[in-house]
């Protein structure tokens, strides 16, 4: 493989620890990447950049077009904007891909046979950032749903299902209430589904769908839905599969792509070398596939799985009996490297 320049951000809270662990594994596995670090997040916000990022960092992102990002913290109050959301929008990252898989019996879960992927629309909906105070007492936020936005994400979901040999795509909407916005999403889902006769499709009202996912996640395959539902449903699915500390996510656009953990910066456990680096590592594995280094991605995935199977567990998934050795963040990375 040729060496691919990528941009990396170490982020806030547990970010630096899990990024260091992740990059160490990538390096040991022979990933052909040239990481270029940028600083984003809390420190940048507090230095006066209300959006948490400097102009030079945008330059790096627009040049490398591949971004491995650790979680960041937005300071409380002060009218700071969410950089996560601004970056998704600025880089045109319209699709957020979140695989949620159980690793039973090696990791404790009440749902041992789940293997689903949430394809979340990533730019529209209540995340469009259109929010106003109308009067002293009345506030509003606009939920924005567009035809091109729906078409793009629904097509992405079916193409993804096709490439990954998945059998079914399920759509979650609330179009019994939001007949226009969610109605449009649903109608476009049905239209595009008709172009993929080999893939099954169905739709659920999001409340019932959420209940079904929480109860019998093994019944689902690929899911596609508007932004906010995808946010909520993917946290549920990741958590009941074992831990939000294990799920990575790919944010995909036509030009750029960003890879991250689905969890946050967990300031309460930062600096203690106890965080699980697996979610960011899974983001990195998705990144390696994206840049065509599938063999290295697979090698890392197998080494990681072997580490879990050996019972080398971080605190979030450690359980007396099931686990063999409690490892810190750095030591877990070393155990993965030993299995490469």
């Amino acid at each position: 493989h040729p060496i691919v320049p990528i941009t990396v951000a170490f982020g806030d809270g547990i970010g630096p620890e899990i990024m260091e662990a992740t990059l160490k594994v990538l390096d040991a596995a022979g990933a052909k990447i040239a990481p270029e670090a940028i600083e984003i997040g809390e420190k940048v916000y507090l230095s006066g950049q209300t959006n948490g990022i400097q102009a030079s960092s945008w330059e790096s992102l627009r040049r490398t077009k591949v971004f491995l990002k650790a979680p960041i913290t937005t300071p409380q109050g002060g009218g700071y904007k969410s950089l996560n959301v601004s970056m998704r929008k600025a880089l045109g990252l319209y699709a957020n891909i979140r695989p949620c898989i159980s690793y039973a019996p090696f990791v404790k879960t009440k749902h041992p046979i789940m293997d689903l992927v949430i394809v979340r629309e990533n730019e529209e909906d209540l995340y469009a950032g259109i929010e106003h105070r109308q009067t002293e007492d009345v506030y509003q936020c606009l939920k924005l749903i567009t035809r091109p936005g729906c078409e793009r994400i629904v097509r992405y979901a079916f193409e993804y299902a096709k490439q990954q040999n998945r059998k079914r795509v399920t759509c979650f909407v609330k179009d019994n209430i939001m007949k226009l916005t969610d109605g449009l999403f649903h109608q476009i889902f049905n239209d595009i589904a008709a172009e993929y006769p080999d893939i099954q499709h169905d739709s659920m009202i999001v409340d019932i769908g959420a209940a079904r996912i929480a109860d019998t996640p093994e019944d689902f395959d690929v899911l596609v839905m508007p932004n906010l539902y995808g946010d909520i449903i993917s946290d549920i699915a990741a958590q009941i599969a074992g831990s939000v500390g294990m799920a990575g996510s790919a944010n995909i656009g036509d030009q750029c792509a960003m890879f991250e953990a689905i969890h946050g910066s967990a300031p309460d456990i930062s600096g203690k070398n106890i965080a699980n680096p697996s979610a960011l590592l899974h983001g990195a594995i998705q990144m390696l596939v994206h840049i065509g280094q599938n063999d290295i991605a697979e090698k890392i995935h197998h080494a990681w799985l072997a580490t879990l199977e050996q019972g080398f567990h971080t605190a979030d998934i450690y359980e007396e009996g099931r686990s063999k050795v409690l490892l810190g963040t750095a030591e877990f990375a070393n155990a993965v490297i030993a299995n490469l």
Copy 2:
């Protein structure tokens, strides 16, 4: 007790069956009510009332001010409005109270020790019904959050917690993204919480909160949240407690109150005498408490619990080994009556 006139609607799908079963139990228990039936739902929509209700029915509702309602169906397409939502708004039913309780070991659940109550705001948010097509390709729906709306529901939640001797109230919002609308809800939550020093309080971002509820519902007590989150979270909680077929809900306003099942009209199993009437029965029990017939409410609740314990189960909760006898809707009601 004096006899209290109430309005009842038999609804669509499984509605008539579960309502008949419920009223039979109420009658046998000696509930002092005079039910007055109105027709709402599918037939009324299709007869040309696009809102699914006739003027005379509003008259009954405004007079009795107490409404026991079976699930209804809104016909597909045709621009029909959701009658459930219109009624909540027209009757000023701002608080939707949804207890979700596990009945393990008598009913199968992966979460045997949950006992939580969701207090859902019931008039605002994306349910305000303000939805537009801006252009051919752009649709929007308005999320509306007002100060009086937040104050009313948050205060209701704390008063409820106080009366029921509950220890903690948890708020779910997404104010890292919706800083104004959800930010207002969160701020009012904190302000009002300070008036109740004996009740603990905390807040979670709704995605993480949903994941925590789906994973460890036993950690929650009373929850309060905007309308749409409450819709999704209550279906999750009811389902993982055992079945959406068991949870009832009270819709409370300053003048009127409406009691119902949280599930829908389930047309696929209607007319077969197999639906579980428990959710509507729980709605009816909440109604009896509302009209001051607590003794009868308690009597019915104990008889119902005894029926579950005896292993008399409807199909949705029937399980080989755990259950003793599979009962139909009417037979389940008879079994409850035998335990009164």
